[in-house]
C-alpha cells in the first residue's frame, strides 16, 4: 500500500516551515545553516514524492543534485561561519552588519 501524495506534501510543508522558522528566529549561525538544510530537504521530499507519483526518475536525480549542492553549501557555509567566528568571536548572524551600505 502506498502512502498518498498529500502526506508527503504535508510532511514537506511541515519540514519547510520548521526550517523557515529556524531561519527567521535563530541567531546562531550553525542553527541557521541547519535550518537551511531542513528547507532543502523539504524540497527533496517533494521532488522524490512527485517523481514516484509521476513514475518519472527526473525528480530523484534532481534530489541527488540537491544533496550534492547542499553538501557544497554546507562546506562554504561552515567556512563563512569560521571566518565569522574569527572576526567577531561569535557565531551570531545579527552581529556582522558592516557590509550593509
Amino acid at each position: 500500500m502506498t502512502v498518498a501524495l498529500e502526506y508527503y506534501v504535508l510532511l514537506s510543508i511541515a519540514l519547510f516551515c520548521i526550517g523557515l522558522f529556524g531561519v527567521l528566529t535563530r541567531r546562531n549561525a550553525l542553527m541557521f545553516l541547519m535550518s537551511v538544510e531542513l528547507m532543502l530537504n523539504a524540497a527533496n521530499i517533494n521532488l522524490i514524492a512527485f517523481a514516484f507519483y509521476h513514475g518519472n526518475l527526473t525528480g530523484q536525480v534532481f534530489a541527488l543534485f540537491t544533496m550534492a549542492l547542499a553538501a557544497a553549501e554546507v562546506a562554504v557555509g561552515l567556512g563563512i561561519i569560521l571566518v565569522l567566528y574569527r572576526n567577531f568571536r561569535d557565531v551570531d548572524v545579527t552581529v556582522p552588519t558592516t557590509m550593509r551600505w
Binding site: 523557515l20 527567521l24 541567531r27 548572524v93 545579527t94 556582522p96 550593509r100 551600505w101
Partner: protein, 679 residues
C-alpha cells in the same frame, strides 16, 4: 586684362613684406639690425613694384585678376547667381595703384626711421617689432589691392591684429597692453557691422567683387533699377542698410565718432608705429574702403549723407579735443581723427577725388609729423610733454623745418599740400550743402574745425620748438642720425609739393589744366570700367549749387577756410610764441575739463564695458551657477536623498533579509492568488 607684363609681379608687392615677416621672426635674432634690413629691402621692393604698377596704369593698363580661389559653393541669393566664389584677387586701378605707392613709401620710410628710433635705443624684442611691421605692411598692401569685399574684410582684420600687436609692443608696461586691447576691441565692434554687411551683400547679390560686370555694385544698381525687393526691403533701402553696416567697420578703423576712442590710446605704441597706423595703414584703411566701394555708396544718398555728417562732426569734435592736449603725440592723434573726418566729409558729399586727394596728402604730412614727433622724442630723451620742451628750433633745424612743413600742411596753409585737398573737400561740401541742409551743417562743422586745426597745430609747433627750453633735456637734446633725417626730408618735400597733383581751384579760376589726380582717378590714363570719378558722378543724386558764379564760390570757399586757418594759427602765435608760454587754461573755463576728458567718451565706453557688460556677465554667471547648475545638482541631490531613505531597508542582518524574502514571497502568492482567482 590678363596677367601680362609687370602685372604678373603684382602679388609680390604684398608678399615681400610677408617674407620679411617670416625672416625677421625666425632669423631676426641673428641678423645685424635685428631684421630691419630685411624689412627695408622688402618694403623697398614693394615700393619699386608699386611705382611700376603706377607707371603701367599711367600707360593705360589696368589689372584685375583672380589669384586664388578660397572657396565656392551654392548660394540662395536674392538676385543674381545661385553659386558664389570667394576668391583672392588683385585689382590694380588708378586708386589702388596710388594707394599702393603711398603705403609702401610710408612703410619704407618708417622702417628706415625705425633704425634711428628703435635700434639706436637698445630696444629688446626688435625682431618681433620688425616682423610685426612686415606683417602690418603685408596686410595693408593686400587690403589695398583686394578685388573683392571679403578679401578686403579679411585683410582689414589682419591689419587690426597687427595694430594690436604693435600698439602693445611694450607689453611689460600696464598701459600698452590695455591700449592695444582697446584698439582691437573698439575696431572689432565696428568690424562686427562690417562682417554683417559683407555677409548681407554676399547673400543678396551672390558676389562680393568690387569691379567688373559681376560686381555687387552693378548688381545693386540693377536691383534698384528693377525695383527688386531684397530681404523684405526695397532695393534702395537695402543698399543703404548694407552700406551703413559696412560703414561700421570704416568708422571703427578710421576712428570716426563714436568709435574714435582707441586712437589716442594707441599712442602707447612706438611712435614709428603711430606714424604707420595714422598715415598709411590702419586708419587709412577705413577711408580707403569707402573710396574703393564708392560706387555702392553713390547709390544711396542716405548713406552718403550720413558719411558726410559723421565726417564733418568728427572733424570738429576731434579738433576741439586736440586743443587742450599736452602730449605731442596726443595732439597728433586727435588731428588724425579730425583729418579723417574731413576725408569722410569729402567722400560723403560725392567729392571722390577730393577725399582721395586728402588721403594722399594726409598720408605724407601725417607720417612726417609723427616721424617728426619721434625725432623730437629722441631729442628730448623720451619726453613727450610739450610743456617740458621749447627752444628746439635752433638745436635741431632739420627736424624743425620738416616738422613745420608738416604743420603748415596740416593747418591747411597755402601752398602746402593740405590746403589744396582740404579746400577741395570744403568746396565740394559747400556746393552740395547749398542744396542740402544736412550737408551744409556738416560743411559748417568742417569749416569751424579749420580754425581749431590751425590753432592746435601751431600751439604744438610753438610749444615744442619756440620759446626758451623748459627742461634740462630740451637744453641739451640728444642728436639724431641720418636714418631719422632722410625720411623727414623726403616727407617734408612731399608735404610741400604734393598739392600740385590736383590744383582744382587754379583750374577753376584760370582754366589751366592742373588737375592730374582728377583725370587720374577719372581713368584718363587707364581704369577699370565703372570705377571712375565720372562713373560715380552719374550715380550720385546730389545737386550742386553755387554762390554767384563758380569762380566766386571757389574764391569764397578758399578764402573763408584760409582765413580761419590763419586766425587759428594767429591765436596760437599770440598765446604761445613767447619765451615763457603759460597754459591759458582758465580762459576756457568749464569747457577745459570737458575737453581734457575727451567729452567723457572714454568714461562712457569704460562704463559700457565695466558698468553694463560686466554686471550682466556676472549676473549671467550667478544665474548659471545657481539656477541652471542648481537644477542639475538639485536633481542629483533629490535622487541621493531618496536613495538614502530607501537604502535603510538593508539592515545588514541576515534574518531580516530572510524575513523580507518570505514576506515578499507570500505577498507575491497573495497577489497572484487574488488575480488568478484562487480565492
Amino acid at each position: 586684362m590678363a596677367g601680362t607684363g609687370i602685372f604678373s609681379y603684382a602679388p609680390a608687392i604684398a608678399l615681400f613684406p610677408l617674407v620679411a615677416f617670416v625672416v625677421a621672426l625666425v632669423f631676426g635674432k641673428y641678423m645685424p639690425k635685428k631684421g630691419a634690413i630685411a624689412g627695408i629691402f622688402a618694403t623697398a621692393g614693394s615700393l619699386v613694384l608699386s611705382l611700376a604698377m603706377l607707371a603701367a596704369v599711367a600707360g593705360g593698363e589696368v589689372y584685375h585678376e583672380t589669384i586664388y580661389e578660397w572657396t565656392s559653393g551654392a548660394v540662395a541669393s536674392e538676385v543674381g547667381a545661385d553659386g558664389i566664389e570667394f576668391t583672392f584677387g588683385i585689382l590694380i586701378d588708378p586708386l589702388s595703384a596710388l594707394m599702393l605707392v603711398i603705403v609702401s613709401l610710408v612703410a619704407v620710410l618708417v622702417h628706415v626711421f625705425s633704425l634711428g628710433y628703435m635700434n639706436a635705443e637698445g630696444e629688446t624684442g626688435l625682431p618681433r617689432y620688425y616682423a610685426e611691421l612686415g606683417l602690418f605692411t603685408f596686410s595693408m598692401l593686400a587690403f589695398v589691392f583686394a578685388d573683392n569685399l571679403l578679401m578686403a574684410f579679411m585683410f582689414f582684420e589682419l591689419v587690426g591684429l597687427c595694430s594690436y600687436l604693435l600698439i602693445g609692443f611694450w607689453f611689460r608696461t600696464k598701459s600698452a597692453p590695455s591700449a592695444a586691447k582697446k584698439a582691437f576691441l573698439v575696431t572689432r565692434f565696428g568690424d562686427y557691422f562690417f562682417l554683417i554687411g559683407v555677409v548681407a551683400i554676399a547673400a543678396t547679390f551672390g558676389t562680393v567683387a568690387f569691379a567688373g560686370d559681376d560686381s555687387f555694385v552693378t548688381a545693386a544698381e540693377t536691383a534698384i533699377d528693377d525695383g527688386t525687393q531684397l530681404f523684405g526691403f526695397d532695393a534702395q533701402t537695402w543698399v543703404t542698410i548694407t552700406g551703413l553696416l559696412v560703414l561700421g567697420g570704416v568708422i571703427g578703423k578710421s576712428a570716426q565718432f563714436p568709435l574714435h576712442t582707441w586712437l589716442p590710446d594707441a599712442m602707447e605704441g612706438p611712435t614709428t608705429v603711430s606714424a604707420l597706423i595714422h598715415a598709411a595703414t590702419m586708419v587709412a584703411a577705413g577711408v580707403y574702403l569707402v573710396a574703393r566701394m564708392f560706387g555702392y555708396y553713390a547709390l544711396s544718398p542716405t548713406a552718403l549723407a550720413i558719411i558726410a555728417f559723421v565726417g564733418g562732426f568728427t572733424a570738429l569734435f576731434a579738433a576741439t579735443m586736440g586743443v587742450v592736449k599736452d602730449d605731442i603725440k596726443q595732439v597728433l592723434a586727435y588731428s588724425t581723427i579730425s583729418q579723417y573726418g574731413y576725408m569722410m566729409l569729402g567722400l560723403g558729399v560725392g567729392g571722390y577725388v577730393a577725399g582721395v586727394f586728402h588721403l594722399m596728402n594726409h598720408a605724407f604730412f601725417k607720417a612726417l609729423l609723427f616721424l617728426g614727433a619721434g625725432a623730437v622724442i629722441i631729442l628730448m630723451h623720451h619726453e613727450q610733454d610739450m610743456w617740458k620742451m621749447g627752444g628746439l628750433k635752433d638745436k635741431a633745424p632739420v627736424t624743425y623745418y620738416t616738422f613745420l612743413a608738416g604743420a603748415l600742411a596740416l593747418a591747411g596753409i597755402i601752398p602746402f599740400s593740405g590746403f589744396w585737398s582740404k579746400d577741395e573737400i570744403l568746396y565740394d561740401a559747400l556746393i552740395v550743402g547749398l542744396e542740402e541742409p544736412v550737408i551744409l551743417a556738416a560743411y559748417a562743422m568742417g569749416l569751424v574745425a579749420v580754425f581749431f586745426t590751425g590753432f592746435y597745430t601751431f600751439r604744438m609747433v610753438f610749444l615744442t620748438f619756440h620759446g626758451e627750453p623748459r627742461s634740462e633735456a630740451a637744453e641739451d637734446p640728444h642728436p639724431v642720425g641720418w636714418a631719422v633725417k632722410v625720411p623727414l626730408i623726403t616727407l617734408g618735400v612731399l608735404a610741400l609739393v604734393a598739392g600740385i597733383a590736383n590744383l582744382a581751384p587754379v583750374y577753376k579760376l584760370t582754366g589751366i589744366e592742373l588737375t592730374f589726380l582728377e583725370s587720374w582717378l577719372d581713368g584718363e590714363y587707364g581704369a577699370v570700367e565703372g570705377l571712375t570719378y565720372s562713373a560715380y558722378g552719374e550715380l550720385l543724386a546730389y545737386e550742386a549749387g553755387t554762390i554767384g558764379t563758380e569762380q566766386q564760390t571757389v574764391l569764397i570757399a578758399a578764402g573763408v577756410s584760409l582765413l580761419l586757418a590763419f586766425s587759428g594759427a594767429g591765436v596760437a602765435w599770440k598765446l604761445y610764441n613767447v619765451p615763457e608760454p603759460s597754459r591759458h587754461v582758465t580762459k576756457l573755463g568749464g569747457a577745459y575739463t570737458v575737453l581734457r576728458s575727451n567729452y567723457y567718451q572714454d568714461e562712457f565706453q569704460v562704463w559700457l564695458a565695466e558698468g553694463v557688460t560686466q554686471p550682466i556677465a556676472r549676473a549671467a554667471d550667478r544665474f548659471d551657477r545657481t539656477v541652471i547648475d542648481g537644477t542639475v545638482n538639485g536633481v542629483s541631490s533629490i535622487s541621493l536623498f531618496g536613495s538614502n531613505r530607501v537604502k535603510r531597508l538593508q539592515t545588514g542582518i541576515v534574518t531580516n533579509y530572510a524575513a523580507l524574502l518570505v514576506a515578499g514571497f507570500i505577498g507575491l502568492l497573495l497577489v497572484l492568488g487574488l488575480y488568478g482567482g484562487w480565492f
